[in-house]
Symmetry: C2
Subunit: 201 residues, 2 copies
Amino acid sequence: MSSLPNNLKKISLFLERLPGIGEKTANRLAFYFLRLPDEDLKEFSKNIADLKTKTKFCRICFNLTEKDLCSICDDSKREGNIVTVVETVLDLLSFETGNIYNGIYHVLHGKIDPLNHVGPDDIKIKELIERVKKSPPSEIILATNPDMEGEATAIYIKNKLVELKKNFKITRLAYGLPIGANLEYADYMTLKKAIEGRNKF
Amino acid sequence: MSSLPNNLKKISLFLERLPGIGEKTANRLAFYFLRLPDEDLKEFSKNIADLKTKTKFCRICFNLTEKDLCSICDDSKREGNIVTVVETVLDLLSFETGNIYNGIYHVLHGKIDPLNHVGPDDIKIKELIERVKKSPPSEIILATNPDMEGEATAIYIKNKLVELKKNFKITRLAYGLPIGANLEYADYMTLKKAIEGRNKF
């Protein structure tokens, strides 16, 4: 590393802080930057410098946006009566890439995780309750992850929503075998859920 | 992707152009940038913007540097009598991280690769010949990669060096089993080389 020029070394050290990038990959990426056109680097540089000042939370759903409302809440073609609650913006993106859902979202920005000192007040649960109290949708889909913390978060939110005594459906994503899965390699928890949730065929 | 704010989307699209980074990873990295302190992003941004203007080739060995000479050629403690010829700066870094070599280098910036239209004049071979003609070292280690193009490049350079009729040793890196390897999984070319190059024990 000491034989790298200082500027390359700094870029490489920065990249090493990113998740999943080790020293070798960071070096390789830094070298790759060198081969890109200067105007592309200048533009990337500008976007990075402006990133934090330009990016805000959507006033309604806490998705990321450069404006007051995110592109989803601002889209009149979306079904505003269905709200899907997700842990992160990346989860939201998974739904969006598939083009499988036309409702709107609420991004919690985390999950209840006592071991990591994340309580209900550290994520956007209060904001969700306020939001649906003010304008109740017809359905709220709890789409936190199917792990222990995600499950606990879903249960906590469900209880809070029931307390509101509003007339909306509260649903949870289906559990079961993923498409393309092999029964032989499926874990028994997934199989158990797949049997419990079996449908008429 | 369309639900990402524009600035994040641009950063993600830029990152996707880097080797080994797909759409999902690019998104994840872009989000990670958001969580870093603003001053770190500003500094990274500045380094990126200055990268191409600040980085030059070392006048002697074509390693990368911000000055006229790279840190290796500029180091009086290095053994200037031994020159190792490598394909890329990343190869040079591999030698340097191990702290196993105290000579100097010559970086070719490529290998002779006719299928990809890279001929001897497209890499720094002429510069190597000129350099060792002017000040002949005692040894030149040809450390191009042990693949077809690297081998061809080494042979080409060797012939050019022999033509100079100078009194230096020309050597090539040893072939053999890598440390920690398992004979069971070794390819037969490596095994052949390991037998041919066997040493007294």
